[in-house]
Amino acid sequence: MNWLIKQLDRMTESKTRTVAQSTGRRSFMGRLAMTLTGVSALPLLPVARAQQQPGETGDPNSCDYWRYCAIDGFLCGCCGGSMNTCPPGTEMSPMTWLGTCQNPADGKNYIISYNDCCGKTSCGACLCNRNEADRPVYRPQAANDINWCIGTKHLTYNCSTAIVVGTALEQ
């Protein structure tokens, strides 16, 4: 029995020494740090993160793109921003109106938030006025004729985004 324990002891010791000689805590920490830095830098890479989500097809800078079913304005994607982000030098209005559009890729209805970008004169590119489910201005929460630059520093309208914020109920 003693012999067996000694053998095990020797084996463990030699393996431990081999590992300790061929690797080091410092090199492990170095590799870990490199991995962590790499992983954290991934979202900063210039990929199209503000563009389409999986399950979307079509040209986001074209008025017939599915998200724009109820929009009335200039598409921010043609103005230096994207359908989710405002162009540099403008500010996204916190207040907005929301509607639903059907995504032809999966046939589902999604809730779209049409936040306006404000603070620079009208962009003038890619005017898109589709108005599906648009309501008159006396129902302001569903009206796209309103300048929604409310709560921003400047009230000048520049362009409109179309952000997917959720899935609508199946009717």
Partner: protein
Amino acid sequence: MPGQTRTVKSILAAALLAVSLSAAGDDHRAKINYMLYCQGCHLPAAEGLEDKVPRMSGFVGYFTHSDEGRRFLIQVPGSATAPVNDEQLAELMNWILRTYSADELADGFEPYTVAEVAELRQTPDTDPAARRKQILEDLSKKNRQLRRSLAQPATSP
């Protein structure tokens, strides 16, 4: 006989569960209705916009401390004229109160019923800002916590 008792018990349990579910409403539907008909102005976390849109988060529950306040939450035009039926409006208001302002709810708060909402929304407010101010003034006389909340500029509703 014991078999029958068990059957009766399980029927009772199922009935109780159905009642509690109907009182709770459909949370998912309420959330979607909030997004479509409230969040554009009250914002995604019901935080409101200073001097423009009343904050509901951490605040709207105070209105349940008086009958007048309770009526107001349904008669305020944003509620009364929202394009949802009576059942969904009751469900939506109960969801808003529970989700965004559970800590401020009156003790023993009873959720809105469909019949109550149906009746109240027939007479929407004509001057909601003035009525709101009056309700909060009346409530803050008795409610120290509300007085403090109203006095803090950063959290002014």
